[in-house]
Amino acid sequence: MTNGLDQSERSIAAAATGSAASPEQILTVVRSGYDPDPVLELGQSLAKALRADWTVLYVETSSPSREQELRIGRALAQAREWGADVITASDRNALAAALRVIAQRNVTQVIVEKAAESAGWRRWQKDRFVSKLLRKHSNIAIHIVPTTGVQPGPRRVTDLRTHQRKPAQYLTALGVIALVTLAAFLFTPVVGAHATALIYLLTIVVLALFVERGPTLVAAALSALLWEFFFLPPYFALLIRDFEDTILFAMYFIVALVLGHLTTRIRAQEEAEREREARATALYLLTRDLNEASNLDQIVQHIVRQLESSFRAKVAVLLPRGEAGLQICPGSTFQVPAGEETIAQWVFEHCERAGNLTRNSPSASALFLPLATSGASVGVLGLRLNERIGLDLHQESLLEAFLQQIAMTFDRHRLNEISEKAKLLAESERLSKTLLDSMSHEIRTPIAAIKSATGNLAELHDGDAHLRDDMIAEIQEATERLNRLVGNVLEATRLESGALRPRMNECDVGELIHGVLEQMEKELSAHSVVVRIQPALPVVQMDFVMMQQVLSNLLSNSALHTSPGTAIEVETKLEDRALLLIVADRGPGIPADSLARVFDKFYRVPNSRTGGTGLGLSLVKGFVEAQGGWVTVQNRPGGGAAFTIRLPHQNVSTVPEMPNP
C-alpha cells in the first residue's frame, strides 16, 4: 500500500517535470462492485494534465445488480465523453485483463480504487491485485484511489439480487433434496450409503443448472448433513463413527459445494455469452442493412428499426441540409419538440451528448447523440427511451458501436453524393466545351475561308481572271455555308426556346416529296434519286414548311456524305398508326457507336466528310418530334444509311400495303 502511494507521488512529480517526448498512456481500472466515479475523475484530470491517451478498462468481476449496471454504464458513458477508450472485459480475473491491456497499449500509469477499510477480506484481495500488478510491471506508476464507501458494496448488491428471486428457488432446492432423501430411504438398503452420496451429488449438479448459487450451496450443505444423519451409521445422529466415513463426509461436502459453485458460474458465463452474442448480432444486422441500403430513406428506415428493437426507444434522425440546418428525416418515430431543436443543434456543433440522462439539459424529453466521424459531425440521433432510468453498461457499449456504424454510413453517403455531383459537373463542363468547340469551328471555318479568299483577291495585281473567279466562288460557297449555319442556329434556338409551334395541316406526302426534290435539283444533281410513293396514301397532319426542311436536311445530308453517282432513295410506307418517310443512301453508313449520337447537336461521325453545319440532323429530330413523330436511323444491309421518319395518323387507312418492289 505504502509502496503504491509512493508510486503515485513519483508519477505526479514526473508528470510535473515530464517532457512531451514520451506520451503517457493512462489506464483506469474499474471493477464491478466499486464506486467508479473517483477513479474516472482522477483519470480524466490526469489525462488532461499530461495530454495523455486514456484507456478505461471495466472488469466485471462479480455479477452487478441492475442498479449498479446503470450506474457504471452512466459513468463509462461520461468517460467516453471525456475522451477515454473504454474497454469492457468479462473476465472474472481483473488482473489478467489489466495485464493484457497494459501490454497491448504500453500503459505507463494505472489508476485503481482501494476498498473501504471495513471490507476486510476484500482488502486482502485488492492488495493482491495491486501487488501482483507491481510484481509484473515494476516500471508502471500506480495511483490508488480510496473509494468513499457511499455506494453499496458488492456483496450487499449480490445479496440483494439473490434475495429478490430467492424464496421460490430455496423452496425448489429444499423440495428436491427432500424428494431425493425420501427416495433414498427406498434404495439405500439395496445400493448402500456410498451410492446414495453419488445420487445426492448428481442432484446438486442438476439443481445448479436451474437455481442461483445460494440455493445450490444450501442444498449442497443440507444434502451432506441429511446423508450423514440418515444413511451413515449411527443412523439418526450427527455422529460419525468411522474414520473412513469422516473423510467421505468431508469430501462429499467439499465436492458438493465446488460442483454447485462451478455449475452456477458456467451458467453465468453462458448467459453473458448469450447477451454478447445478441449484441453482436444486432450490430451485424445493422451493419448489413446499412451496407445494403441504397438511399438515404432506406438508411434511416434501417436505423430506426434496429434502434427501436434494441433499445425499446423512439428514434429521430437529424441530418444537416445545406442552409436549412438540421432537419429531421422522414421515417423518424418521434418529432423533436420545438424547444429541443436547439439542443440537437448544440449536439451537432459540439459533438457531445445532451438531453435526457446527460448533464446538458437533462430535463429534455429525449437523449441527443452526436454522429461523428474523425471529429466531423455528420448528424444527430435522438432517442426517447421508454425506461427513463437509462442504459446499462452493455446497452451503452452497443449504442456506442451503433453510433459509430451509423455515422460512418452517413459519412459514406455524403461523400458518395459529393463525388457524384463532381462527376456530373465535369461531364456537363466537358459537354459544353465540346459544344463550344464545334460551334466556333463551324462559324469560323467559313469566315476564315472568306478572309483568306479576300486576302488573295487583294494581292491580285495582274488581273488573273481565272484566280479571281475561283476566289469569288470560294467566297460564295463560304457565305452559303455561313448563311445555312446561321439559319439552322436560329431554328434550333427557336425550337429550344419553345417559340416554334408547328402549324399542323392536312398535307399530301407526295406533294411534299416532289416539291423538295424540285427545290434541290442542283444539289442532288450528282446522285440518282429513286422515289417510291405508295398510291392512295392517307392525308397526314403535319407542318408543311417544317417537313420541307426536314426532308431537305436529310437529302443534303445524304448527298454530302455519299460518293457522286450513288443512289438516294426516298420511300413512303404505311404502318398501323404511322406514315413512314424513308431517306436511304448507299454511302459508307454510320459506325455502330455513332448511331445513337448522329442526332446530337454538332456531333460529327469520326472520319466523316466535312462541310455540314453539324445541326442539320438535330433539327430533323427536333422538327419531327415537335410534330408528334419520331426519327430513327439504321444501317442498311448492303451498305448505306436509312433515316426513317414516323408521323402518326389517326384514321387507320384501309388501303392495303403495297408489296416492296
Binding site: 476564315a448 483568306s452 486576302g455
Partner: protein, 233 residues
Amino acid sequence: MSETSAKSKIVLVVEDEAQIRRLLRVCLERNGYSVVEAPTGEGGIDEAIKHQPDLVLLDLRLPDMDGVTVLRRIREWSQVPIIVVSVRDREDDKIQALDSGANDYITKPFGTGELLARLRVVQRYIQQPANRTIFNSGDLQVDLSTRTVKLRGRMVRLTATEYSLLLFFIQHAGKVLTHAQLLREIWGSHEEQKTGPLRVYMGYLREKLEADPAKPRLFLTEPGVGYRLALLD
C-alpha cells in the same frame, strides 16, 4: 521580298476542311511555297514522313485525332517547324500546343499577310546556323562567344539571370515561349502559376534593351501565354 528565300519550300497543310485547304494552297503557292495536303491526323503524319516538309500548318480539330496528338507524334522524330492554325483562341489551347512543341499559333480566321509573316519568322529561325556566335535583331547585338550585349553599339551590362533569360530567347528567337517553359528553364520551377519572378525579369530586360520599354518591339508579350523575341531586320 521573301519570295527568293521561300522558293521550293514544302509546306504540309494538315486540315480537314477542303475549302480551307484549297485557299491555303492558292495563297502559299502564289508566294512560292509548294504545298502537300492531308485531311486527317494519320494522313498528316504519313505525309510528314514521306515528304519531309520544311514547314507544317496544323489544324487542332481533325476527324480522327486531336491535333495536339499529331504534334506530339511528329515531335517524336522531327524538329520541323510546326505552326498551329486553329479556331480555338483560348490561352489554355495555345499553351498546350506550344508546350507540346508547336513553334507558333495562329487563330482562324487569319489574314493572308499575317500567315505569311509568321511563316517567314519561323523560316528565319530555321535558317539561323546552329553554331553562329553573333545574334542580331533590330538594334540589339549579342556576341554569344564573349557574352557581350550591345544596344546601338553600346555595351549593356546584364546580370547572370538576365543573360540566361536573354540567351534562352535567342536560342528560340521568333518562337513563342510559354510561361511554363521559361520558368522551368531559368528557375527550374514547376509552379506554373507563379509567374512573378518572370514578369520582374522581363521588366529588367525591357528596361535595358528596349528603346521604349512601354512599347516593346523586341520582347513581345503573348497575352496569357508567354513571350517572344522578335526577329527584326
